[in-house]
């Protein structure tokens, strides 16, 4: 498999009145062709900021990408000129967002919003662009696509709006689709429709996907590989089955145990992770999860663990081996 995207030591800070918030603290990951990478974490862990940094969508000020590389097609996304990154966004790497309502222009018809970039970027005529758009809308399962081109965003239901957004994101046949919690605002039966649609499109178009979510359930059936984020760090990374069978960071393990399952009745109380995720104003000289961790040892409080290999393709940032409960050497 060829590597499509390689991100190294990405760091993003926000200058706020309270201080310098370290939102992303040296995140490294890669994405192979046709692969689906899940990035999982709770709100504020830096998962959205990481991918927004890649596409240079962080508003500056207050945000700033202070370090890192993101190699895509042999070029560093973070060093491109504004012109160059504009050509990447939407055409080679495109993104869909959580709330489809706020991502559309409410006063333009869906047809206008879909055809404009085609005329602009791909030099199509109005007629070509609208034919192309109608095809895209049918592909994502919008019934009566040619009539619906004249509708405004508010005339679509939440699920249909998300389908339109997917159609727009895929118009230029991107190599990478970044999906930032695209189903969080939707009902579970509609969520299932959208996930099924994305899987089908992935298999027919062959794009790679980065799927950001807080829902470990969705990722289980969708991703090939998963990265778990906490406090701006990737704290564990593994192939999907390995992560769920063998979580080797106390945070991933805690998250998995805190989830009830729809197919089984739990006989015990839910395991909760006490306390709250931190907001980091400086680079911590300790493991950021240590204050909430049941397994912590002395070393956790004086040294922040890096991702270390714990199995094939499996890396975890923890000083403790959870199987033995002893410190790793």
């Amino acid at each position: 498999m060829t590597e499509l995207l390689n991100v190294q030591t990405l760091k993003t800070h926000f200058s706020l009145r309270e201080g310098q918030v370290h939102a992303v603290n040296g995140v490294s990951f890669h994405l192979n062709e046709g692969e689906t990478l899940g990035i999982v974490g709770e709100s504020g862990c830096g998962k959205s900021v990481s991918v927004m940094s890649l596409l240079r969508l962080i508003k500056s000020p207050p945000g700033k990408v202070v370090d890192g590389r993101a190699i895509f097609n042999k070029q560093d996304l973070l060093k491109m000129t504004d012109e160059e990154i504009r050509n990447v966004r939407g055409s080679k790497i495109s993104m869909i967002f959580q709330d489809p309502m706020t991502s559309f222009n409410p006063v333009l018809t869906i047809g206008r919003q879909m055809t404009e970039p085609l005329e602009e970027h791909m030099g199509m005529t109005i007629k070509e662009a609208s034919e192309y758009s109608i095809n895209m809308l049918s592909m994502v399962g919008i019934p009566f696509a040619s009539e619906r081109m004249n509708d405004y965003p508010h005339q679509f239901s939440g699920g249909m709006r998300q389908r339109v957004m997917i159609a727009m994101a895929l118009t230029c046949k991107p190599q990478i689709l970044i999906a930032d919690e695209p189903t969080t605002a939707l009902d579970v039966t509609i969520q299932a429709q959208i996930v099924e649609l994305v899987k089908k499109l992935r298999d027919t178009l062959g794009m790679a996907i980065i799927w950001i979510t807080h829902d470990l359930g969705i990722i289980a059936g969708l991703a090939d590989r998963v990265a778990v984020m906490y406090a701006g760090y990737i704290i564990e990374e593994a192939p999907v089955k390995e992560l769920y069978r063998n979580p080797s960071h106390p945070y991933s393990m805690g998250l998995l145990k805190s989830l009830p399952r729809v197919d089984k009745t739990a006989q015990h109380r839910l395991v909760s992770i006490e306390g709250l995720p931190p907001v980091l104003y400086e680079e911590p000289a300790y493991c950021p999860f240590a204050p909430r961790c049941r397994f912590k040892v002395a070393r956790c409080l004086v040294e922040n663990p890096k991702l270390i290999p714990v199995g094939p393709d499996h890396r975890s940032a923890c000083w403790v081996d959870l199987q033995t409960g002893k410190e790793r050497l």
């Binding site: 579970v188 969520q191 429709q193 359930g217 729809v262 009745t265 992770i273 006490e274």
Partner: protein, 328 residues
Amino acid sequence: MTSSDTVLLHVDKLVKHFPIMRGIIFQKQIGAVHAVDGVSFDIHRGETLGLVGESGCGKTTTGRAILQLQKPTSGQVIFEGVDLVSLEKKELRKMRGRMQMIFQDPYASLNPRMTIGEIIGEPLRLHGLADRKESNEKVVDLLKLVGLNPSYANRYPHEFSGGQRQRVGVARSLSLNPSLIVCDEPISALDVSIQAQVVNLLEDLQEKLNLTYLFIAHDLSMVRHISTRVAVMYLGWIVELASREELYNHPLHPYTQALLSAVPIPDPDAEEQRKRIILEGDVPSPVNPPSGCRFRTRCSLAAAICAEQVPEYREVSSGHFVACHMVA
């Protein structure tokens, strides 16, 4: 029957329609949103009834109509032997202490200008149950009960995280020693690791104080964890109601089956094995619900009878109710 089996709340053919009006001076009703349309169920003392369904199915309206926060259009709500619908305002007010609500959004349901202590103590003051000193003592007890430091009483809501605010909401709902608490999506605004904290708290309190919950949620996994019995709503109807094990292991209504199959399981091996029933389309508008069975427009089993007759809500086996023509 033991005392814990007795019925605390009996809801009979509860209907709540919201009128749609036209005109400014000469207003005329031109239609109605059929939010809740003839819902009947019992809640037993000490149990948790889970009420699940997708957004817009009427589960929140059901909760609010039970508490008379919205006057039902018709139907009966008998709580501790009293029909709440027919009560005068003053008498109803006396009952309010016995039934409380925990709201979904911990950011919107706490007054930002009041301290935590004032928020939790306010019900006591309004009901004339405690003077300032007693109320302060009670607030300290309640804060301890929900796992918050009593010294937080003088702080304002914005100083707290979502999970802590939800604890404040729980403490407020407990201040008048209610027997029934309607939990309206109490955890859906919280992060995963915090959800478990709040659910564990609710379970502990139920055991300690012998509380009865109506737990409204759309997260079917969490409902399975917390409920004794579960009711599934679709477009203003309860389409199926059964004990937890029965409903999750032997769902009868095609909607329940589809809903359960749509919930992702946090286990890649289980996900591989699963057969998903993907429902087509969206929920129809409650302004103009389909004739006959309301689910028929999305149902794979729908036959001619489903468009003509409203399916009867009936008991097919002990304690298992379902409204579907196709269930034998």
